[in-house]
Amino acid sequence: MRSLARIALAGLVAVGLSAPLTVSPALAESVIRIASPYPATTLDPSRSGAAGNIETFGQLYSRLLRRNSETGELEPGLAEKWEVSSDGLVYTMHLRDAQFSDGSPITADDAVFSLERVRTDKESALPSTLSAIESVTASDARTVVIKLKYALAPMLGNLETWNVGIVSKVDVEKRGLPAAFVTDPVASGPYMVKEWRPGEKLVLQPNPHYWRTGYPKSDATVEMVEVTEPETAAAMLKAGEVDVMRSVNWAQVDDLKATEGIDMRMEPSNIVFVVLLNHSREPFSNLKARQAAAYALDNKMLTQAVTRGYAKPANTPLPGSLDFHDDSYPGIVADMDKARQLMAESGMEGKEVKIILGGGSTNQQMGLLMQAQWQAIGLKPVLVNVDTPAWWEATGKGDYDATPTWWMNEVTDPDLAVRWALCGTCDSHAFNTFYDNKRIDELTEQGTREQDPGKRAGIYQEISRIATEEVSQIPLYYSPYAVAYSTKLKNLRITPAMQWTLEDTTIEE
């Protein structure tokens, strides 16, 4: 009898224990979980242009303008309307009645403060988007006046890039730096921080004071989970432990496509994969050697081999999604005989080529293909593996000859892209290639100041042609974002400017 009673008691206890376990899923709040290898490392929008941060800033901070997630057009953001003076030098922005996540009003002072942080702060990660600005002032509590040094065609678009999110001046001054951004910054965007566990996950919750009423459409919290291993991320997605896998390996695409409940999508991006060549030393200081290297790489074949045909071969070193890009331009079409001939003419045969490779399977494959092709035209390629910080150190110092890599442009206007990748007198030594062409430098400044779209198209197409023919970099392919979604998520995608459309997203059970 006593043992029976004991069993019964144990049974009761077991039921008691398991009851909360079975009830909790029903009560649990809904959540959208995104697994990404790109971590959030700071919540201060002016301080970092790394991928994971760009993705987060758009959720936490609204900008003066916003991009319509359907059409990609610019539309009013925190500025509900604006006027541009006839000479294109003065932008007067009128702010709407909006609040920060702590309920305080968003004023012209906050906008001025936020833009100044990007433009003049020494530690600003990308001041060049606002480099044309002469001054930013608040003429009253709701009006911001931006004066330019010269008329800049893409100015409105530059007021929508990831770093110009509006932050609270009062809060930043009260808590100081970096304290204001370490755990729970005051937000102006659709979401605010619920919890940040650096290196693990960032949890966001809807901002109740967000100016777009009715958004975010879902009251779900959002978890940005850091997962470095693609195998792990795919297993988590299949097991339902996350809802989105941000960066699917090309080799995983077919498997995920065939999995029920998963929507495997290729989404347009402003990304271009290129091979950087070091123009500051032999062999690639020699134009013919560079051309030989380019003719030897069949980027159609290579795109097929590496991306299984999911990416599009590139015809110029600039992203194919940029305005004025000429799709019909053939670029350099692979030709081994021509490559050998150019190599012989260059006198660089037998030279050693140090190819440095960052992490990841794509870089490794690319490196092997480059090595094989260049060996065939008489170069001596050597592969060296490095991690990301060492990669930046080596390319920055010019301690390399060639390296496959990728970059993206924040906006579809080509101005920033040209300044980053091709202009030798701009900040980045033409993306650490040390390429410098006087004509391109001149055209860069002309393109910035020219207001007529037709003329701008001509300028940027000329720049692309010069750079392609002189092989500033070897164009490889235009890569889409490969993202896998749970089919229960509606209207979630990542825009070409790397922004999740989370505020439009709903969950269907």
Partner: protein
């Protein structure tokens, strides 16, 4: 008491050595933390401004003095990219790793002892052969591969266990960390079995066993009272090394199962050249290793009076 004094002295030297070497290594590896913080597009002036704000533009010896000075006051520094104290970060990541380590021990020790005894009863017998064969297989399978296969099978296909994370409650920890712990235990059991089996066989032929038998002790008594305690000693030392290794070395298993533990933190910090985090973690691993071996020595002394000499 002497042991404690000796160990404490040893600890001081080990720690000073570790501090100097780690500091030099992390600072001499190419790569700039400022570049990782600011991102790809940042220009040279921005990078320089960030370096300056961290004092990275100062000569190395001055940076070391600052670091050592803070260390003496018990401050192991702040993460350069997260702007949070290293101690806080370690506090965040240490629990999954400790739990995992404990879990692995619980899963690995009982079968190790049982298998070793079964194996050593009749060296060369059928049971011994089978156990040794499986053991070699267990050791030969890479933890990485095994982890992926188990998460695919038990996690994705059967849905019995989560394939990632750590959970919130104790029960959830047990559930979430089962596959990672099992993957690690499968590698660990054969190592322990081999060591314990060898010791058991060796001690079974020792003089004191013959003496015990001559005094008329039963085989059962001889095994439990004489052979096993003597045979455990070398395995205990090995066990200590493995524990210390696990706390710092669950990197692979943590990556495969996305467990937010110290291994993940270390990899992240290394790839970001987050100097203070790397230094703080290395220091912590060093202290743990010294502490674990110290505990093992104490245990050995308890079991075997001769060690005290």
């Amino acid at each position: 008491m002497q042991l404690v004094a000796k160990r404490t002295l040893q600890l001081v030297f080990v720690l000073v050595g570790i501090c100097v070497i780690t500091f030099l290594l992390v600072h001499m590896v190419p790569g700039d933390p400022a570049r990782i913080i600011a991102g790809d597009r940042a220009n040279a002036e921005t990078i320089e401004a960030i370096r300056k704000s961290f004092g990275l533009n100062q000569p190395l010896w001055r940076q070391f003095l600052t670091y050592a000075g803070n260390l003496l006051q018990g401050d192991i520094g702040e993460s350069m990219r997260y702007k949070r104290p290293v101690a806080t970060l370690i506090g965040q990541f240490v629990w999954p790793t400790l739990f995992l380590t404990g879990y692995v021990v619980c899963l690995a020790v009982p079968p190790s002892v049982a298998l070793a005894i079964a194996s050593a009863r009749k060296p060369g017998g059928v049971a011994d052969q089978i156990i040794r064969f499986i053991g070699i297989a267990g050791m030969a399978i890479p933890v990485f591969w095994l982890g992926i296969m188990m998460s695919r099978f038990f996690g994705v296909a059967l849905g019995w266990f989560p394939v990632s994370g750590y959970g919130k409650t104790f029960i959830q920890h047990l559930h979430h960390l089962f596959l990672p712990a099992l993957s690690t235990a499968i590698w660990m059991v054969p190592v322990l079995v081999q060591s314990l089996r060898a010791a058991l066989i060796e001690k079974a032929g020792a003089d004191f066993v013959v003496a015990a038998r001559a005094q008329g002790a039963s085989e059962r008594e001889i095994f439990w009272r004489t052979i096993l305690p003597n045979a455990v000693l070398p395995t205990l030392n090995l066990f200590g090394v493995i524990i210390a290794f696990l706390i710092g070395g669950t990197i692979v298993v943590e990556a495969v199962y996305a467990v937010p533990g110290l291994g993940s933190l270390m990899i992240n910090a290394l790839l970001a050249r987050d100097y203070h985090v790397v230094q703080g973690l290395t220091l912590m691993f060093a202290v743990t290793t010294v502490a674990v071996t110290f505990v093992v020595d104490l245990l050995s002394a308890l079991i075997d009076p001769r060690v005290r000499l």
